[in-house]
């Protein structure tokens, strides 16, 4: 089975003190470390696991700058066979434009399955995968937590709300966006990344693709971003750990939890 896995490098924002940039269109990213999008890490692992089972190739694709090649090399170290970086130049990218560019690179290629993460950790849209499937004209499923291929189709599990999964049969070629927890992504060593640097990494410029002005026109635009008001929310308990612990025990008692 030939698999294409679309991945993205994102800033780590979980414990960062985020500040808004001067244009109020995004956060300041200069000081933030960047990593592979968590969902995409699972997607790469799933692609490699499927390839180990069925043969074929895994190609990792990202849209980004030279710095973003870091995650492609990581994917190669995890077992991907080839990598493609699509250089967007100074194009503005929304979910539509991103999916349109990916489609132009992927279409016509020899693939059975395209994997993406369910969403990216930065803008949390969760739309590139399903849009890409529609551009390619192939079957699609979102939030996949299990893939069992059988010839020209697969039995898959899709995560629904409330601790429920749906089981579906889907025909190849297909696009699936992967939910976290579908597998246990393997560890990548620095040695492994160094070794993988011998594998093929191709760079394509969006300018060389057969895309019209309309294909590259954003459908949505971020007008402004802002931090939620600080005054909202919790009463902050201050003091040393011992005082904090006492206060917590008091709150438990006040709310009918006997300790």
């Amino acid at each position: 089975m030939n698999i294409i896995v679309c991945i993205k490098r994102v800033p780590m924002t979980q414990e960062a003190d985020l500040e808004i940039d001067e244009l109020e269109k995004d956060v300041k990213k200069d000081a933030l470390p960047f990593v592979i999008n968590d969902w995409d890490n699972y997607a790469i692992e799933e692609a490699v696991l499927l390839r180990e089972k069925t043969g074929g190739t895994v190609t990792a694709v990202t849209i980004g700058t030279e710095e973003d090649e870091e995650i492609l090399r990581r994917a190669l170290a995890m077992g991907a066979d080839k990598a493609i970086r699509i250089d967007p130049g100074d194009l503005g990218l929304d979910g539509f434009v991103t999916s349109r560019i990916l489609a132009e690179v992927i279409k016509g290629g020899d693939y059975d399955l395209v994997l993406t993460g369910l969403q990216a950790d930065d803008y949390n849209c969760g739309m590139v995968g399903m849009m890409l499937a529609e551009h390619l004209g192939i079957a699609h499923a979102a939030g996949v937590t299990g893939i069992e291929p059988e010839g020209r189709e697969a039995t898959i599990r899709v995560e629904l709300e409330g601790g429920m999964d749906g089981v579906l049969k889907i025909r190849f070629p297909a696009l699936m966006s992967v939910q976290t927890g579908i597998n246990e992504p393997r560890y990548v060593s620095i040695m492994g990344i160094r070794k993988a640097s011998k594998k093929e990494l191709k760079v394509i410029k969006t300018g060389d693709l057969n895309l019209t002005e309309d294909d590259l026109a954003q459908r949505t635009t971020v007008e402004m971003v802002f931090l939620p008001p600080e005054t909202e929310g919790a009463e902050i308990i201050e003091g040393d750990s011992s005082m904090v612990a006492e206060k917590i025990i008091r709150i438990l008692a006040e709310n009918g939890v006997s300790v």
Binding site: H140, A217, A245
Partner: protein, 322 residues
């Protein structure tokens, strides 16, 4: 006067809450803009949903077929695309749920109507919608506009509005047959599978001691488990802990896990993604401990402690065993 479409979401014979949340949001927009509220109900034969839906909408367009009883993204997308071509709705609401995430962006490409996903608010500004979203896992808010179009698609986050029926709408029902030339769907629904029941039922606990990504290492789970035992509570967790197999999935709180209603919810190292927070709406008092003072969990907590969770856990253990 254009339509605002609301795509009804149902599962196992029940209309899901997100449907009424969308109908409520759409009715508010209809009041401001004098649009027509049209619910789109795609379901199996003789589904009993019509009576639930009709009072919320000006009209209901319903298509009934066995193939629509369970969710099928190909059929939903194709039928909605044809309804959009016929009625040119100004807005189409779809839930930002597993169901909606599986076909709404594809419908946007097919119909040419731009989409914004996971919206928490929508307003109409100069005849065009403007949406509010949360980015970076709820730490930042974003206002997004659309390229000009005849119609727009919006997926609404679950549980951001509380439906309140302020007026009765006389939902006129239009039954319509499935188009005969629908393409063969490329996928087939097989069955629902419940995530396994476990030794504990977190939805029944009075006190939940809940851990998230901040727990860091698997060994630390036992440390917090000890605290939960000392307090007479039950240990629960957010998604990353289950993804790493550090706790079985029946401990998971949130949209993909369980909704809980403890008297006290002690959240340790949980950042507060909406998928998690939606599961604790029924909790009495929420106490959060997190190193990140801007973690979204503090916005939904009654009490917050900005500190290393292990310091707080150790101090509690000392008090309780001392």
């Amino acid at each position: 006067m254009a339509d605002i479409f609301v795509v009804v979401e149902h599962r196992k014979g029940e209309v899901r809450d997100i449907t009424f949340e969308m109908l409520f949001k759409a009715s508010e927009l209809c009041k401001e803009s004098s649009h027509n509220l049209t619910a789109i109900l795609l379901g199996g034969r003789d589904s009993a949903f019509l009576d639930d839906i009709a009072p919320w909408a000006d009209r209901v367009i319903t298509l009934e077929d066995e193939r629509l009883e369970n969710y099928n993204p190909d059929l939903y997308k194709e039928i909605l695309h044809r309804l959009i071509q016929k009625h040119h709705p100004f807005l189409t609401f779809i839930g930002h749920t597993s169901f909606g995430m599986g076909f709404a962006p594809a419908l946007s490409v097919k119909s040419g109507y731009p989409i914004a996903t996971d919206c928490i608010d929508i307003l109409i500004d100069n005849g065009r919608p403007m949406v509010t979203r949360q980015i970076y896992n709820g730490k930042v808010f974003s206002k997004d506009s659309f390229r000009e179009s005849e119609g727009y698609i919006i997926t609404l986050r679950q549980a951001v509005c509380t439906p309140e029926k302020t007026e009765e709408r006389r939902g006129e029902v239009f039954k319509s047959e499935l188009p005969p030339d629908l393409p063969e769907p490329r996928q087939e629904f097989m069955e629902f599978v419940e995530a396994g029941a476990g030794e504990v039922d977190i939805s029944q606990a009075d006190l939940l001691v809940s851990i998230g990504r901040g727990i860091g290492e698997e060994e630390n789970v036992a440390t917090v488990k000890e605290l939960a035992d000392l307090l007479g509570g039950v240990i629960s967790c957010s998604r990353p802990v289950v993804d790493k197999n550090w706790l079985p999935s029946y401990h998971q709180v949130g949209t993909s896990g369980k909704s809980v209603k403890p008297k006290v919810y002690l959240a340790l190292g949980i950042s507060g993604a909406f998928q998690h927070v939606a599961g604790i709406a029924g909790a009495g008092t929420v106490i959060a401990v997190n190193k990140d003072k801007k973690a979204p969990i503090f916005r939904v907590s009654d009490y917050g402690i900005v500190d290393d969770l292990f310091k707080v856990v150790e101090a509690l253990k000392v008090k309780l065993s001392g």
